[in-house]
Amino acid sequence: MNVFLAQQADRIELPAIDYAAILPMLIILGAACIGVLFEAFLPKHQRWPGQVVLTLLAIAAAGVALGAYVGGSPAEGTTTLSGTLSIDRPALFLWGTLLALALGAVLLIADRSIEPGGAFVAQAGIAPGTVQDRAQVGSTGMQTEVFPLALFALGGMMAFCSANDLLTMFIALEVLSLPLYLMCGLARRRRLLSQEAAVKYFLLGAFASAFFLYGLALLYGYAGSVKLADIANATAGTDRSDTLLFAGLGLLMVGLLFKGSVGPFHTWTPDVYQGAPTPVTAFMAACTKVAAFGGMLRVLTVAFESTSWEWRGVLWGVAIVSMLIGAVLGLTQTDVKRMIAYSSIAHAGFLLIGTMALTEDGLSGTLFYLLAYGFTTLAAFGVISLVRDSTGEATHLSAWAGLAKRSPLLAAVFTFLLLALAGIPLTSGFVGKFVVFSAALSDGMAPLVVIALVFSAVAAFFYLRVVVLMYFSEPAADGPTVSVPGAFTTAAITLGVAVTLLLGVLPAFALDWAGAGGFAIS
C-alpha cells in the first residue's frame, strides 16, 4: 500500500459546469436545503409563512432562470457536468412543465383555509388513535417539512428528466421518490389509511428501484458504460450478448413504467392516490408522471432507438394492458380519488403510445400531453379537496350525488375537468390525444390507435357517469358541503382550469414549444 501512496497523482480536473443551464435545478435544490435550515432555526409559528414564501419564491426564481436561459440556449442542446446532464429542448420543456405544475401543487399544499391547519398532520410521530393523537386533532399546526420535501422531490424530477446516464437517473429517481413516500404518510385525517399508502408505496417503490438497478447493472455489463450515448453506440451493430441488452432494458423499463403507473405495474396507484393527502396526490399525479415519461422518452430515444424493432411489440402489449386496466377497472370504482387513479393508468397507456413513436411528432405530442394532463389532474384533485363532510373529504361517489344543486360552480368546473380527461374537443385533453394518436398513426401504429380510441370511449363513460350523478341525482340530506376555497386553492384550481381551456382552444404555442427540438445525442 505504501507503494501506492508514494505515487504522486496528477491533479484531477473538475468537469466543466454550465451554471446558466442548470441554474433552475440548483435553485430548487438549494432552496430545499434552506428550507431544512428553516425547520431547524425558525420558531414554530414562523415556519409555515417562512416555508411558503421560500418555496414559492424558489419556484418563481427557477422559472425566471429557466426563461432567461431558454432564449439563448443552443437549439441542439448541451451536455454539462462531464455529460451526466443533458440540457436540451425536451428537458427544458419538461422543466418548465414541472415548475408550473409544482407551483400549483405547492399552492394546494400550503392551503390552510379548507381544513384548519392544512391537510397535513401536526406531528407525524404520534401513533394514530392514541390519546395524544386525539389531542392533536384540534391543533392547527402542520408538519412544515412537507415544503422542503416537495422541493427535493421537484429537484429530483428535474434531474431525472435531464439525466444523460443511467447512474444519475437512478439517483435522481431515488431523490424524487423518497420525499414522495414520506409525504404520502402525513395526512391529517384517516391517518392509518395514509400510513398504509406510504408503506405500500415505499415497499413497491423499493422493488421497482431494485428492478431499475438490476437493469442498469446488466446494461453496464452489455455496453461497458452507463452513459445513454455509449449504450446507443454499443447497440448499433456489435456481436455483444443480446440477452444482456434485452434483459437489462426490460428490467430498466419495469422501474420506469412503475413510476409512470403504467399497465401491469400500476398496483400501487389506486391505494396511494386514495390514502395520500389530496395535495400530495395532486403533486404526485401531475409531476411524477411528467418526470417518469420524460425519463422514459429520453432512455428510449437516445439509447435504444436502433433496437426499437425488438422492444416495441412488448410496449404495445404494455400500453394495451394499461388502457384496459385503467378503463375497465375505472368503471367499477366508487371512490372519486380511486377513479382518477385508474384514469391516470389509462392515460399512462395513451402516453406510452406517444412515447413509443420515437418520431419528432411523437416526442412533441407526448410532451404536450404531459403538460395538458398534469394541469387537468392538478385542478381535479384541487376540486376533490373542497367536497367535505364531518370526517374530512367526502370521496365516495354517492356523496357527490346532486352536487350541482349545492354548488353549481364547483360542479361546472369538475365537469369541465372530467370532459378534459375524457378528451372532448375544446379541452386540452382532446388536443393531447389528437397529437399523440396522429403521431402514432404516421409511425404505423394504426391498430394500436384504434384500440386506444375504443378504450378512451370506455373511459369517457365513467367520467360522464360522475357528471350525470352530479347533475341528475337528488342530493342526499346528510350530504357533504362544499368548502369555500382560500386564495391558494382558488389560485391552483384557476391555474389548472385556465391552462386546460387555453391549451384546448389555442394549443399552437405550446405545441411549437414542445416541438422545438430533439434530445441532445452525446
Partner: protein, 287 residues
C-alpha cells in the same frame, strides 16, 4: 476464497508469493473457514452472526494483502461494520432467544434447496478448477486509474465524471435524515405532548381531572378478589368510584349481588364455610 485460489494459481506462472504473504494466507484462511463453519453450526443466532464477522474480517485482511486496499477496507467498514451491525440490531429486536422453526412451510423446500445447493457447489468447483488450471495472470493494476478499482481511481471518478450524481446523493441523505425525524420525533413537552409530573399535579389540583388523588382500588376480601368487588368506605358503605365504568357493562345481576354481599345485606354463610355465597353453591349444584 476464490481470489486467493486465483492468486495461488498464478504463483506457478510468473507471479511469486512472498513468505509473509504465504504465512498470512495460511493463518487467515483457516480462520475464515472456521468462521464460516461456526456460523452454520452455531445454535445461537448472535453467535452465528459473530462467527460471520470473523469470516468477513479475515477476508478483508486477505484483500488487503493482495493489494486491494479499497476493497479490503470496504469489506471491513461496510460489511463488518454496517451490515453486520444491522444484522445484530435485528436479532436483538426479534429476541436473541427466538430460534428458527424447523417446520417445512413450502412443500419440497428442502429437496429444492439441496438440489440448488449441490448445483451451486458444482458451479463453484468448476470455476475453481478452471481458475487453478488455465488462467493467465493479470498484470498488477494501477490503483490511480479508474480501472484499478482502488480508492484513488474511484475518487478520481467521483470528482470528475460522476460529480453530479455524487453531489445529488447529498439530497438523498438530507431527505432520509429529515424523514426519519418527521416520522419518529414527537414533541413530548410541547402543548400536545406528555405532561411532566409537576404539570400533572398542578392540573389535578386546578380541577382539570375528576379528583386530585387516584381512584380507590377495588376491594379484596377473603371471599373474592374480583376487580368487580367494590371497596368499602370507613363507614362500611360501598365506594362507587372504586369500580371501573367498564364493570357496568358486565352482568348487572351478578354485580349487584356482589355489592350486596360486600355491604353485608345478604344472609351470610357460616364463618367457617368454604363456599363464598349462595350463588356459588347454586352453580355447583347445577353443574
Amino acid at each position: 476464497m476464490t481470489p486467493t485460489a486465483l492468486f495461488l494459481a498464478q504463483a506457478g506462472a510468473d507471479a511469486t508469493v512472498s513468505t509473509g504473504e504465504a504465512i498470512s494466507f495460511w493463518v487467515l484462511a483457516p480462520i475464515a473457514v472456521a468462521g464460516a463453519l461456526g456460523m452454520i453450526f452455531a445454535r445461537n443466532a448472535v453467535h452465528s452472526a459473530l462467527w460471520l464477522v470473523l469470516t468477513m474480517l479475515s477476508l478483508g485482511m486477505l484483500y488487503l494483502i493482495q493489494q486491494a486496499p479499497f476493497l479490503g477496507f470496504t469489506q471491513i467498514i461496510v460489511y463488518t461494520g454496517a451490515i453486520m451491525m444491522l444484522f445484530l440490531f435485528v436479532l436483538m429486536m426479534v429476541g436473541r432467544e427466538s430460534s428458527d422453526s424447523v417446520v417445512e412451510v413450502l412443500r419440497g423446500q428442502r429437496l429444492a434447496a439441496a438440489i440448488l445447493g449441490i448445483g451451486v457447489a458444482g458451479v463453484l468447483a468448476g470455476a475453481l478448477t478452471r481458475a487453478l488450471a488455465d488462467v493467465t495472470p493479470a498484470p498488477p493494476l494501477d490503483p490511480w486509474t479508474p480501472e484499478g478499482g482502488a480508492a484513488g481511481g474511484l475518487g478520481r471518478l467521483i470528482f470528475s465524471d460522476y460529480l453530479f450524481p455524487f453531489e445529488l446523493t447529498s439530497a438523498l441523505l438530507i431527505t432520509a435524515a429529515m424523514g426519519a425525524m418527521v416520522l419518529a420525533f414527537t414533541d413530548r413537552h410541547g402543548k400536545t405532548g406528555k405532561r411532566s409530573q409537576r404539570e400533572l399535579v398542578e392540573a389535578r389540583f386546578r380541577g382539570e381531572y375528576e379528583r386530585p388523588s387516584p381512584k380507590p382500588g377495588p376491594g379484596v376480601f377473603a371471599t373474592s378478589n374480583s376487580v368487580a368487588t367494590p371497596a368499602l368506605l370507613p363507614d362500611g358503605s360501598v365506594a362507587p368510584e372504586s369500580l371501573s365504568e367498564l364493570i357496568e357493562s358486565t352482568s348487572a345481576a351478578k354485580l349487584s349481588g356482589e355489592r350486596k354481599q360486600v355491604a353485608g345485606d345478604t344472609p351470610q354463610p357460616d364463618a367457617h364455610s368454604l363456599t363464598g355465597s349462595e350463588e356459588q353453591s347454586e352453580e355447583r349444584e347445577n353443574s
